[in-house]
Symmetry: D2
Subunit: 334 residues, 4 copies
C-alpha cells in the first residue's frame, strides 16, 4: 500500500485527486491538508465527495508517507517539495514550480524568483506517455499544465516525424474549473453563462513557454507557437483545435497510421477513426486524451480533448504515481 | 423631459435601469453614479450596454434632476433618500430600506437600525398595479423586492376575494443575478452550473416579512406564509409555484375569470389560458408578470413568472416613475 | 459471476446501467441489446463510455443469463418479462409496466391494456430500502420511477410515524435526461437553456398514482398528494421540496432523530445535519438519496435529492440486483 | 410606412425579424406566414414575443407589400423570390439561395440545381457595410450567412490593404440557434450542455465557398481559407478567432488605425481598444459586429463577434431594408 499525502485538498484539483486516491486499490490517503478548510470535512465543499477530515498543512507528518501531491499555488509548492525530498519522500507537484527548466523563464512568466532552482534539472516533466522510462527512478515529478498536456500529446507525433513546416496555431477552449475555485468577476455565473471569451491569446499565456519547452524537449528545432486560450461556459474539459502546416505528400490515412503507431500502447491516448472529431464528451470524467485528425489546405488539423481536472491535472498525477511505483498505469483511473 | 439620476449604476439592477432610461423617450439621464467604477464607462462592465460615463456619487448634482433611483445596498440608500427629498427631488428606492413599514421588523431582518424611520409611513410600497392612484402625488417610492413582486401579484386577487383558507406555500426559483454582481462562492460558475439549491426556506428569508406585509396591506387577516427560495442555474427570471388552499365550490374557469377581471386593465400582468403554465420564457427580458392557474385537491396552484431585473426591479421602477410623472405606464417598457 | 443481459441499452438509463455493470466486480454483461443501434458500439452515442457491441433484441440468447434488465418503453417491456420469466430468468424492469398494482389504474394512466396483468401481484416494487427482505426470493422487480424514489424515501419515515395530518405537496424539479434521449421541442437546447418550466402539475403526472400507491403500501391511510414536476436546465438530478403538514409538538431535532433512525443502516440514504439543505450536488453521479429537514409554520419541509439516472433508475436497479443475488448492496455503486 | 411580409416566421430567424419589424417605426407587418404554425399566434412558440397571427404562405397577398423577407430553407426561397419580383416586390432572402454567384458551386454545396440561376448575377450580396451604394436601387438582396458576416467584416480591411500573405484560418464558435429550431440529436440539451464540438472543419462547411467568394468580391487574389466551426453550449452568438499571416513591418497600433478607418462611419462595426478582445457579451442582443485585434508571431489575430440571429441574420436583413428604402441605417436596431 502506497501511503500518500495531499496538500491543497480543497481546490478543484485537490478534490479530484482525493476522490481518485480514496478509491485507489493500492493507495491509502494518510493525510489531506488544507490551509483554508482545516478541521472540516471535504464534504462541506464537495457534498458528494469522500468524507475526509482535513488537517492544517503544519500538522502533516511527512514521515508517514511515501509520496506527497502538491495541489498548491506556484511559489508555495516548491519549498514544501524541498522539505519532502529532504525527508526522502517522493513528490508529485501539480503547481507550475518545476515545469519550466529555466529559472529565468520561470521568473519572467510567474513574477517571482524560483524558490528552488537547483531542483529544476532533476524534475521530470511528467507527460506520462513520454517519460515512462524515467518515472520509476525519479524523486520529483512536475505534473504538466492542463493546456500543455492536450496540446503536446496531439502535436508531438507529427513533430517527431518532422512533418511540421510552419508556425503552429493552437486555438484552445477550456471549462471554468481551470480558473480555480476562488470566486472572481470572470467566474461569476452571470458573467460566464451564455458567454464565450478569449483571453491572453497569441503569445501571452503562461502555458506558452511550457508548451514550447515541451516541443523542444522532444524535437531539435521546433517551430514557433501561437496559443489562444478561450473560456467556455462549461465546468470542465479542454478542446484544442490545432493547426499544423505540414510538408506535402501526406494523406490523412498515412497521418492516422503515424498517430496510431505513436500511441499504440498507451491506454489513455485514443486516436479517432477517420472523419471523427473530438468533443469534450469524449474525455470528460476520464483520464483520456482523445485526438481527431483532419487535413485541409496543406494543414493537419488536430482536435484534442482532455478533462482538465483529470488527464490535465489529478488523473495524470495518479498515472505518474502508478508508473513511479511500478503499478499498472491504469490503476484507479478510467 | 424628466431629468433622472442613478446611484449604484454598476450593479445588475443599476445597469438594467440605465439601459431602459437611456432608450426612454421622456427621460434624460443626468448622471449615473457608481462608487466602484467612477470615471469609467458602463461598457467596461457591460460591453453591449449604453456608453455612459460614470461619476462618483459625491459628484452628483442633485439640483439638476427631478427624480433619483437608488440601486444601492440597504442602509446606504436611506440617507441619500433623505438628502434628495430635502432638496425636493422625488425618490425611487430599489433597496429594501423603505419597504417594511415597521422599523423594528426592519431592524430584526436587516440587522441595523433604520436610518430614517420617520419616512416609513410616507413611503409608497410600489407594487405598481395596486398603487396607481397614490403614485402621482408621492415623493418616495419603495420599489418592491423581486420575490414579493411575483408572489403578491399572483396571490392578491384570490386573497381579496376571500378564497384562501389555509397556509400559503410559495416555492420560488430564481436566477443567479438576484444574488448580485459581487463574486461569491455560491455564484461561482462551477458551483452553480448543473446544480440547483434551496436556501433560507420556510420562514427565514428577508422577503418573507415583506410579502406578509404586502398581504396584510391589501387584506384584513391574511393567512400565514411559507416561502422557499431556490437558486436556478440561469442568469435571470423568477418562477414561483404557489399553493393556495381555497374554499370549496370554485371551478378553475371561475378562478380564471376572477383573475382576468383583477388584471383587466394593467398592461403588464397576463393571465394565461386554461391549461397553460408560466415558464421563465414568458417573462424574461420583459416587464411582464405572467400567471398560470391550476386547480387540484382543493388547492389553487399559481405559476407566476417575472424577470427579476425588470418587473422585479428596474422595470417596475420605471413603471412607477411613469405613473408618478403622469406618463403612459408603458413608456420605455415591453 | 452473475450473467446479465440488457435490453434498451442506447437510452440514457440503459447506458448508465451498462457503465455500472461493465465495472461491477460480480457481474458480466452477456449481451447488450438495442433496437435502434444494433451492430454498432455503444461509444458511437456515448463516446466516453464502455466499448460494448450492441446486438438486436431478437439475437439475445436468454438462456445465457441469470438476470435481464429492461430499459424499454412501457408496454414493450412486459412481454419480454414474461418470456424471460418463463425461461427461469430473473427480471428487473426499469419501465413502468409492473409498478402499479392495479391493471385498471395502469390502463388509465398509460393508455393501453396491461400486457401481463397476472404478474402484477407478484412483482416487487423495488424501492430497495423498503423491500430488502423480499428481494432475495423475488423473480420480478419493478424498478421505481425517478420522482417516486426521491419523494417516497423522504416522506415514508414521517408517514410511518403517523405525523402527517394534511395534504402532501411535492414540488419537484428534474434535469432534462428524465425526458429521454429522443429529440423533442421541449428538450431542444435553445428551448431549455436559461428557462425553467412546470409541467403536468397538481394531479396529472403519471408518477402521481405510483407515489400514492407507494404511500399506501407502507401506510394504512395516507393523505392526498399534490405533485408538481418542473423541468430544470441541467442534464441530471432531481430535487423535491416536500411540504408535510404535521401534528403539533415535534421539534426539528426530534424529527431528525426519527429520520436518522429510519435510515440508520441503509448506506445510500443520507440525512443532513440540522440547518443544511439538499442540493443536486449532494447526489449527482452517486446512488445516494440525500434528505434535509426544515420546520416552519407547522410544516415539515423536506429537501430530497437523487440522481435520476442512478438512484432514480440504473443505480437502484443494480442495488436491487445486488440484494436479489445476495451480494453486498453497495457493490459497483458509490 | 413600408409594408412588409414575412415567410418562415416560426423559425428563430423569422421570429427575431418579426420582433424587430413589430417595433420598427417605419414598417408595418402586413403578413407573417408559416407553413407549420398557420392560424396560431407566434406567442405559442415564443411566449414573450409579439402576438402576431400567422397565416398560411398561400394566403399571403403579395400585392399588399413593398418588401418580403424569406426566412425559409434553401431551394424553397428562390421560387417565392421569383414570384415576388415578378409582382414588383423587393426581396430580402435570408436563405442561401442567392448568396453564391455560381450556380454550379451552389449545386455542389447545396445538393440541388439552382431554382433561378438567371437571378444570381442581379442579387446583391447584402453585407451591408460593403454594399451601401448598391442597395437603394436593388430589387433582390441575398442576406449573408451568419459565419460569413462575422468573418468577412473582420478580414476585409486587412485584405483590402494587401496585408495578408498566407492561408487564413478562421476558428469559429457558434451558439445552438444557428442549427435551427427542429429538434435533432445534436441540439438535444443533454447532448449540448457541458459539451463543445467541432464540426465540418477544414474546408467542408457550406459557408466556406460563401466566405471565399466574399473575399474575392472585394479583393483580386485572396488567399485560401481554412474554416473550422464549433458548436458552443450557448443559445446565441458567434465568435470567430481569425489568424491572418501578415507582411512584416506593421505594428498593432497601425493595424488598429487601419481598422478604425475602414469602419469609421458604419454604426454597427466596433473596433475595440488595444488589448481588448471580443466576447459574445459584446454583441449578443445587438446588431453589432465587434472586433478585437492582437498581433503575435507575424500573425494578426482577430476576435470577431456577432449575434448570429441579428447581425448574422434578421438584424442585417432589417439594416439592408433600411438602406434599400432610404431610411437611416439604424432604425429599429441597436
Amino acid at each position: 500500500m502506497i501511503q500518500a499525502g495531499i496538500f491543497g485538498t480543497s481546490g478543484y484539483t485537490g478534490y479530484e485527486l482525493a476522490k481518485i486516491l480514496d478509491q485507489h486499490s493500492e493507495t491509502s490517503i494518510r493525510f489531506a491538508a488544507s490551509q483554508s478548510l482545516a478541521a472540516e470535512s471535504l464534504t462541506r465543499l464537495y457534498p458528494a465527495g469522500p468524507d475526509l477530515s482535513l488537517i492544517k498543512p503544519e500538522e502533516a507528518s511527512l514521515d508517514e508517507v511515501d509520496v506527497v501531491f502538491l495541489c498548491l499555488p506556484h511559489a508555495t509548492a516548491a519549498p514544501l517539495a524541498v522539505e519532502a525530498l529532504n525527508q526522502g519522500i517522493r513528490v508529485i507537484d501539480l503547481s507550475a514550480d518545476f515545469r519550466l527548466k529555466d529559472a529565468d523563464v520561470y521568473a519572467h512568466w510567474y513574477g517571482n524568483q524560483h524558490p528552488a532552482p537547483n531542483l529544476l534539472s532533476e524534475a521530470v516533466y511528467g507527460l506520462t506517455e513520454y517519460v515512462k522510462a524515467e518515472l520509476p527512478h525519479s524523486r520529483l515529478v512536475a505534473n504538466p499544465g492542463c493546456y500543455p498536456t492536450g496540446i503536446l500529446l496531439a502535436v508531438l507525433p507529427a513533430l517527431q516525424a518532422d512533418l511540421v513546416n510552419g508556425t503552429i496555431i493552437a486555438d484552445s477552449k477550456s471549462g471554468v474549473s481551470g480558473a480555480g475555485r476562488s470566486p472572481k468577476a470572470n467566474t461569476h455565473f452571470v458573467q460566464v453563462e451564455g458567454n464565450f471569451s478569449p483571453y491572453k491569446i497569441g503569445r501571452s499565456h503562461r502555458h506558452l513557454p511550457e508548451i514550447e519547452q515541451g516541443l523542444s524537449l522532444w524535437h531539435q528545432n521546433p517551430p514557433e507557437l501561437i496559443f489562444s486560450p478561450h473560456l467556455l461556459p462549461v465546468p470542465r474539459g479542454i478542446l484544442s483545435t490545432i493547426y499544423l502546416p505540414i510538408k506535402d505528400g501526406w494523406t490523412l490515412s498515412e497521418l492516422r497510421d503515424l498517430y496510431q503507431q505513436a500511441y499504440y500502447r498507451p491506454p489513455f491516448v485514443h486516436i479517432l477513426p477517420e472523419g471523427e472529431l473530438a468533443t469534450l464528451a469524449h474525455a470528460n470524467y476520464t483520464n483520456r486524451c482523445v485526438i481527431g485528425l483532419s487535413l485541409a489546405a496543406g494543414t493537419l488539423i488536430l482536435t484534442s480533448v482532455i478533462d482538465n481536472l483529470l488527464k490535465g491535472a489529478a488523473g495524470q498525477a495518479v498515472q505518474n504515481m502508478n508508473v513511479m511505483f511500478g503499478l499498472d498505469e491504469t490503476v484507479g483511473l478510467i
